[in-house]
Amino acid sequence: MADVLTFTDRGIYCAAGDFYIDPWRPVDRALITHGHADHARAGMGSYLATDAAAPVMQHRLGPQARIETLKFLEPRQIGAASVSYHPAGHVPGSAQIKVTVKGQSWVVSGDYKTVADGLSEPFAPVPCHAFITECTFGLPVFSWTPQDVLTDQINGWWAANAAAGRFSILGAYALGKAQRLLTAADPDIGPILTHGAIENTNEVLRAQGIPLPDTIRVTPDMNVKDYPGALVLATPGAMAQPWARQFGRASTAFASGWMALRGVRRRRAMDRGFVVSDHADWEGLNTAIRATGAQKIFVTHGYTDPFRRWLTDQGYDAHVVSTDYTGDTEDEA
């Protein structure tokens, strides 16, 4: 039986429907799991994404991008392939894409996490014959802090700084992580300021009806000293730039799965490192894979070699495929 999907130098390809999933070179028809730059690239003839993912994609790719939308679980026939999108829990609107050809179902996970973050549509396992999965954090040393503990840690840190009259600058990626932290932050502690890149994404998400707490955009003509003790959400890049100096002797923190490692935490040279990721941890990956019931597993990015070997040991027919997805690289800005 022919494979439902094949791996090409442009991306994951479905011959039956003549489309690509998250391609990294220009193609006519691209099915997109979510709006992060390594999955939704510019230059495709057309895009198909969930209605919840589309606004951010349009914002990032520009008005000329032709984006078609569909709802989660809505069936769509493309050529000889039937396609549906299922929640991946990674960021709002992020999907796993299921492709069925002649009764054979393959699922592309995109990026995913299995715990609910209070913001994204919760991950739902999709039974299939073959599962193409990320494994950004595919080693047993990665085990995430439970959401309630994390919320206490962040608010405790912010409250202590606010009491001492210091700003709390928290670094996080503009799409997903930043909004997840916003949702966790307790607005009773003080005002929340945002870097422009994050606020732009906030505006897009608010406009599509996703509730986010009130935030104040940091602009060049404002005096941030008018907001003493504020929580400042910044992109990792902005934290290293002169922009961050206006907050004086602030306490700095970074939120990422990599913060689980002491070496990385110390290299970041921040006051705090919160272990929070929009990817699945070791337990999450293993649970998710088991829940698909799939025998054939392809791992696309992350600790692919050891994770493939682990899966093979567990009795799966596991393979590594080489892609251009980066997941969540430690040095990504």
């Binding site: 080693l139 990665f142 689980a260 002491r262 110390r266 600790y303």
Partner: protein
């Protein structure tokens, strides 16, 4: 151990010294005495005796986590720290524990007297009740190497804040070979007399590298002497017993038995700061000769003849039982000269001679002679300076010769540990030998974090072969390697060994073909070896 773990987290996660010192001071004000004593001991490199091998710990941890050994090893490669890897891969704790730091250390000591199955059971039981951070610290206690981002200097500052004593006195109190088993908090910190222990050394005075000669004018305020290339040491003669301490507070007395003769000629109550040097015919031998003596606990006769050592005396800290560190350099020096003059010439001690000079230019010419004299450069000491504790600016400066340098090609890369885990920071370098590249040294310092990140990304894309943690990379990048000395070494393929090699510069401007050759290295060996 919760309080200690909280303290550790606070120190470890912050980059601000003020935060670290405040956290330590708060701990020293509130923790029980035995925990405080252990904290000082651990942060100054005194750890409980190792009672279990790292290999055993790995195997037990992998079993407890239900993971194959190879996956443990993969994880360890990424994390870069054994105790941390163990703490992270074990399942979440099943219970809790209110035991203190000292309780856990006592537990470890008890286990060390038991057989292996009992040790295994004791360690697994501890892992099962400790949360991740405490589990990490407990395992660190088992494996040793308790390095934290806090220097002894900062710890002493915090101790000063908490106790109201001054830093120099406390630094002195913390010197020497005490352990929590041989003393108490009261005896070590609260007691008034730091000289109660006759073997206790004074804190070494350390100099910074010279910034600019201009700030030193007039030249007549200064004494210059050679910066000898040996092992800095403090010779103590008290109560008829002698002790030789290294700067790293290792007791080296038995390694250099010839210095025992000094007992017969120096007065009791003498403490001399100097350099242990291999020395013959009134001249220092190369550092290579001394190297053969380092690390040997007992010295065979042959070696005593081949590489005899002396104490090259720099300074006198205690004279006839009196601490004279507050006197001027001139006055201390005068006493030192008198002492050494009274000693027969066959005794292995010499005065480090002053280098006379009239102006800075003349001194610069003297500095240029350093290598031929087997010296590292010059030391400048202000004539009226007291002998201070620790590294201080202002009164003492070291003025080292410029390092030797060579341009080399990077051929292997390996990931670092700790803060550098997951980054390729340890490289092997080669020089041209005809059309081949011959490896001759490793180096892992001298670049910025940004450069290490850039090279790491490059290494990932340009790996030719993997040998465990080592990656052979496409020869391409040229680095300027600086080093302090070069010696013949039959053990190395290149035939040479370098002292203190480090990366001075990443020569992006230089094509690989223009790197230096093995012949260039051999020529340096002939000139400076």
């Amino acid at each position: 151990m919760k309080d200690f773990a909280a303290l550790f987290a606070r120190i470890d996660e912050s980059t601000k010294t003020s935060v670290k010192v405040a956290a330590l001071a708060a701990y020293f004000r509130t923790a029980p005495d035995d925990d405080k004593l252990w904290t000082i001991a651990l942060f100054s490199g005194r750890r409980p005796k190792r009672m279990i091998t790292a290999t055993k710990l790995r195997v037990w941890a992998a079993e407890a986590a239900g993971l194959p050994d190879w996956l443990f090893e993969e994880s360890y490669g990424i994390v870069g720290d054994l105790a941390e890897t163990i703490a992270l891969i074990l399942p979440k704790p099943k219970g809790t524990s209110d035991q203190s730091l000292t309780d856990w250390i006592t537990h470890i000591k008890t286990l060390s007297t038991q057989d292996e199955p009992a040790r295994r059971a004791g360690i697994l039981a501890a892992w099962e009740v400790l949360p991740t951070q405490e589990r990490f610290l407990f395992t660190k206690l088992l494996t040793g190497g308790f390095r934290v981002g806090v220097s002894q200097k900062l710890m002493t500052r915090a101790l000063a804040q908490a106790t109201g004593q001054d830093e120099a006195t406390l630094t002195h109190k913390l010197m020497g070979n005490w352990t929590p088993a041989t003393t108490t908090w009261t005896d070590l910190i609260d007691a008034d007399d730091p000289t109660a222990d006759l073997s206790r050394p004074y804190p070494f005075y350390l100099a910074y590298g010279l910034d600019s000669l201009d700030e030193l004018d007039p030249a007549t305020d200064w004494n210059a002497e050679r910066k000898w290339d040996g092992i800095r040491g403090q010779f103590i003669l008290r109560g008829g017993e002698h002790h030789l301490w290294s700067r790293g507070e290792d007791l080296m007395t038995d390694r250099f038995p010839e210095l025992a003769q000094l007992r017969d000629f120096l007065p009791d109550g003498t403490v001399i700061d100097g350099e242990v040097l291999a020395f013959r015919d009134e001249k220092p031998l190369s550092f290579n000769a001394l190297q053969s003596r380092i690390g040997r606990k007992t010295v065979p006769k042959k070696l005593l003849i081949e590489a005899p050592v002396i104490l090259m005396a720099y300074d006198l800290l205690e004279h006839r039982g009196q601490d004279i560190r507050k006197q001027t350099f001139t006055s201390r020096r005068k006493e030192l000269e008198k002492l050494i003059k009274a000693v027969p010439i066959t005794t292995p001690i010499r005065l480090s001679a002053s280098v006379p000079f009239t102006d800075w230019n003349a001194l610069a010419a003297e500095r240029d002679r350093s290598r031929e004299l087997h010296a590292e450069g010059l030391m400048l000491k202000r004539l009226d300076s007291p002998y201070l504790a620790g590294r201080k600016r202002g009164d003492w400066w070291k003025w080292k010769v410029d390092p030797l340098t060579i341009d080399a090609v990077m051929i292997y890369a390996q990931a670092g540990h700790g803060r550098r885990a997951n980054l390729f920071t340890d490289y092997t370098f080669a020089v041209w030998n005809g059309n081949e590249l011959t490896p001759f040294t490793k180096a892992y310092s001298g670049l910025t974090d940004a450069e290490f990140r850039e090279i790491t990304a490059w290494v990932r894309k340009n790996t030719l072969q993997k040998f465990g943690p080592v990656r052979q990379v496409t020869p391409h990048h040229v680095f300027e390697i600086a080093f302090e000395g070069i010696n013949a070494s039959p053990r190395h393929k290149s035939g040479v060994a370098l002292r203190f090699p480090r990366m001075l510069r990443w020569r992006k401007d230089k094509p690989m073909a223009e790197a230096n050759t093995l012949a260039d290295l051999k020529e340096m060996l002939a000139t400076y070896g």
